[in-house]
Amino acid sequence: MCETCGCSIPDHNHPTPADEHTVEVLTGLMDANDHAAGHNREHFNRTGTLVINLMSSPGSGKTQLLERTAQAMKDRVTMAVIEGDLETENDARRLREQGIRAHQIATGSACHLDAHLVHKALHDFPLEIDGQTTDILFIENVGNLVCPAAFDLGQHVNVVLLSTTEGDDKPAKYPVMFRAADLVVISKADLLPYMDGFKVERAEQSLRGLGVETPTLNTAAGREPDIGAWIAWLEQQLESHRQHHGQAASAA
């Protein structure tokens, strides 16, 4: 009998010291978050809601794009927004003023949203009210090109904004974020004539360097808005989402 572990095999090795053992674990460090994200996705799919996670540096125009989107679509599409912001309610208020539902998550000092924060928000901010379901939920993440990329929220699509007032080499500087994008929106395109340093082709090239085929489109959400390509992309996402999730409105 083995004296160390008491089993019946006469001769086998034990690490030294005898009370020290190394276990193989091989679990993902994001497993708890990813599990919660999966649960969020069940919430979203229950109401057939398309969920879009919007990410960018601070001030790239996420909220303004959502304001313009509300103006363009809210009469035919039911929209809602969950806002992740460090301190204020400002962004949520701006969207309510556009006549859509908005919920603010105050992240305090956290520089990103995670699946648990979104889950808590979903219980305070239901996607179905009096039988009226939400067609699109936008989650405006905290303005930050690093941390939000690591946290799945349960969204169906990631959109990353790159504004023309930033460097067009941002994808090369923040590869993890831009690799996570399903669409890159070049925002503040109205300013392109003034931004000698920003070339859309260079931004696209920088993105290709990440080994992805992610599409890009331009938006202008300022005084003279031009968000046609964005709205067309959203319509197409909604359509394919309805097909995949069997929420065909014609079923009735």
């Binding site: 089993c7 190394t22 276990v23 193989e24 993902g28 460090l29 978050n33 690591a150 360097g209 992805v212």
Partner: protein
Amino acid sequence: MHELSVCEALLSQVRATAGTNHATSVGRITVRLGPLSGVEPDLLSQAFSIARNGPLTSDASLHIETQPIRIRCRECGNENEALANRLLCAACNGFRVDLISGDELLLAQVELRGVARPPNSPTERKENSDHV
């Protein structure tokens, strides 16, 4: 920095492993990290030195195994190592590539102390069943 949240997730997995195996403390913790995981090794180590203070892990050390970024070209099938922001095929310069490794974020191993018998983990259990 989100490395602190990642570190808290790491420590809760480590403590759970220690708890299941009735360990009295934890020694070396091995994490496998790819550059495309979004976690910076230095920031994770820094976060670890603060977050480890607590039950079971106050003497623990963190060992980070950085994984290389490897890609496979969808056009020509070539495999090569690549930089995080130059994920291009070394043979044909194509950008239609699949990532083979480089985005890992895994707890690989935990060294447990105060455990009299071989720990209760899937790999070890298999070994145990061999010598019933």
